[in-house]
Subunit: 330 residues, 2 copies
C-alpha cells in the first residue's frame, strides 16, 4: 500500500468520486464530487477531522460565499489529515505526514487539496480528528491578539464570548503569554470550563466594564458591546473586532477614542490572499504549536460527528451554548 500510494504521488490520478459536505439551496448534505487533483505547490490531504465554524452557517444560508479559487459548494474552512499526494514542486511534507491548515473552502470532505504553504505539521500531542478544529480558532485568535493588537505580557486582556471556539483559544493564548485574562461568558454552565482554560476572572457580559480598564479587548460578539468596550479601554488600548453576530451597526464616540489614543481594528481571515494566510500559518508554527507539543494548550472539543451527520453537526453548532469545537470526521 505504501508503494502504491507513492506511485500516485508523482502522476495525475484518475478521477474517483469523493464524498463531501455540499451546500444546496440552504441545506447541507453529503454528495459525491470529483477527486481533487493537487496543482503546483499543492498537497492532497486525506481528511480525518474538519472543524465546523460560523462561516459555514452563513454559507449554508447563501451568504459569505467562498473566495474565488476555492470550492464553492463544499464548505469547511479547516482540516487535518494525512498527506496523500503532492503536486508539482510541493516539498514541505511527505506522504503520510500529519498536517492541518486553513482552507478557503472544501475542508469538509474525504479529500481536499491545499497549498503546502497553508499547511502546518500536527504536533504529536494532538489527535488527528481534534487537529481539524485547531487551525481556524487558534489562527484567528493568534492573529487578532498578537499580529493585530500586539498583546504584550502583563497587559490586561478582555475576551468577549470566551466560551466559543475563538474565545477558548484566545483565553489560552493570552494566559500562556502572561497577560491578565478577563473572560465574559453568557452561559453560566460554561464559566467553570473557561476558568479552567486559564482565565483569571470569568464575568457576566452585563457590567463587564467595571472589571477594566483593558489594554486589549477581543470583540467576538459585536456592536452592542462597542460603547462599553471604549469606556473600558486603557490608554493606548486596542479593540479587535472579529465577530459581529449580535449586530454590526455601532455608535462610536471619536472624541473618547482620541482621549484613549485607542484603536479599533477589524478583520477576517477568509478573504486574505495566499501569502497572508501562509504568513499566519508560519506564525502559528513558530509561536503556538510548540505550546501544544508541550501540552500547555489544547483544543476543547464539544462534539464530533461523522461526515454523514453534517446536517446534525451544523444544527448543533447553530444551537450554541457549547464549549469548544464541533469537528466532522470524514
Amino acid at each position: 500500500m505504501t508503494r502504491a500510494r507513492a506511485s500516485r504521488i508523482f502522476r495525475p490520478l484518475d478521477s474517483e468520486p469523493v464524498r463531501a459536505a455540499t451546500i444546496r439551496a440552504g441545506e447541507v448534505l453529503v454528495e459525491e464530487h470529483p477527486d481533487p487533483e493537487p496543482g503546483a505547490g499543492q498537497v492532497r490531504v486525506r481528511v480525518r477531522g474538519a472543524g465546523v465554524n460560523g462561516a459555514d452557517m452563513l454559507q449554508r444560508r447563501g451568504r459569505y460565499p467562498a473566495p474565488p479559487g476555492s470550492p464553492q459548494e463544499i464548505p469547511g474552512l479547516e482540516l487535518a489529515g494525512e498527506v496523500e499526494a503532492l503536486g508539482d514542486g510541493a516539498a514541505r511534507f511527505g506522504e503520510g505526514d500529519r498536517v492541518m491548515g486553513i482552507v478557503g473552502g472544501g475542508g469538509q470532505a474525504e479529500l481536499a487539496v491545499v497549498h503546502e504553504r497553508q499547511l502546518m505539521p500536527v504536533p504529536d500531542a494532538v489527535a488527528l480528528p481534534d487537529a481539524g478544529g485547531l487551525p481556524e480558532v487558534f489562527t484567528t485568535a493568534h492573529d487578532a491578539l498578537f499580529t493585530q493588537a500586539g498583546l504584550r505580557p502583563g497587559e490586561r486582556l478582555l475576551v468577549h464570548g470566551a466560551a466559543g471556539g475563538v474565545g477558548t483559544a484566545a483565553v489560552q493564548l493570552g494566559r500562556a503569554l502572561g497577560a491578565h485574562v478577563t473572560a465574559t461568558v453568557r452561559n453560566p454552565a460554561a464559566r467553570d470550563a473557561v476558568a479552567a482554560l486559564g482565565a483569571d476572572e470569568v464575568v457576566e457580559p452585563e457590567g463587564f466594564e467595571e472589571h477594566g480598564p483593558f489594554h486589549v479587548i477581543l470583540e467576538l460578539v459585536g456592536a452592542p458591546n462597542l460603547a462599553a468596550d471604549l469606556k473600558a479601554l486603557e490608554t493606548e488600548g486596542r479593540i479587535v473586532v472579529i465577530g459581529v453576530g449580535a449586530g454590526a451597526k455601532a455608535e462610536l464616540n471619536l472624541a473618547l477614542l482620541m482621549a484613549r489614543r485607542g484603536r479599533i481594528m477589524a478583520s477576517t481571515l477568509r478573504a486574505r490572499p495566499l501569502e497572508q494566510k501562509a504568513a499566519t500559518a508560519r506564525a502559528l508554527e513558530r509561536e503556538v504549536l510548540p505550546r501544544f507539543a508541550r501540552g500547555e494548550l489544547r483544543v476543547p472539543i464539544a462534539a464530533t460527528f461523522a461526515l454523514d451527520d453534517v446536517a446534525a453537526a451544523y444544527d448543533h453548532f447553530a444551537a450554541g451554548g457549547k464549549l469548544g469545537k464541533i469537528v466532522l470526521e470524514p
Copy 2:
C-alpha cells in the same frame, strides 16, 4: 552680555517678571508671570515664535486644560527661540542655539522652560518666528501618517481639511514620501495653494469617496465623514482621527470594517507622557527636518501677530478660512 548670560546658566535666577499670554475667565490677555526656572534636564528658551492651535481655542473656553506639570494659565503648545539657560544636566544644546518644540502649555510667553528631550534644532532654512509654527502640525501629521497609520510610498492618502495647519503639513509629508495625495478643501479660495503644496488632486468635501479607494485617510474634520471614509477605504486601510471639530458621535458599520480589514485609530499628542513626546521629536529630527534643510518642506504662515495682539490672533484663528499657521512673536 554673553558673559552675564553664561553665568546665569549655571545658577538659579532671581525671579523677574515675564510677559505671557494668559487665560482668564474665557478671555486671553497678556500678564506678567514669574520668570520660569529650568529644572533638571530643562532648557529656558527666549521665545521668538509661538504657534496658535485649536487647543488654545478650547483652552480659552475653559476646556482642554493643560496637563499636570505644565503652566495652567499660559497657553501655547509650541515654540521656537534661542536657548538662554540650562538646568542641571541639560546638555543637548548650548546657549544661543536655535531650538523648537512642543510643550504641554506655556509656549506663548517671552520665556518658557522645556525639557531638552522635547526640543529639536531649527534647520537653517527656517526663520525663527516661522519655526514656532512648525512643531505641532508637523509632529501631529508625521505621528498620524507614519507612526500610527504606517503610510508607505505608493499608497493613496486622503487628507480631510487639507487647508488647515495639520492638513498642509500632511499634504507635504505624504507627497515627500511618494504617496498619492488627495486633499479635501472646503474653501475654494484655498484649493490652488493646497495643490501648490503637492496634492495630486484637490477635491470638494462632498463626494470625496468617488476619488478612492484610499489606503490611509487622515480625518481632521470629524464624525460626519466617518461612514464615507469607511466606504472609501482600501483593503487593509487605516483611518486616523485627530480632529473632531465637526462632531464626535459617529455611526460605524463593524461588518464593513471587518470586510475592509480596516483600522480606525485616534490620538492626541498633548496628553502623552514625556518619553513619548521625546520620541516624536526624535522621529521628526530624523525623518522630517532634513527635508526642511533641503527646502523640500515649508511652514505655510497665514499671519503673524505681536504677543500683545494675542486676542486678535485667537480671533483670527477661530474665524477659519486661512491657509497655514498663525504665529505669535513675543
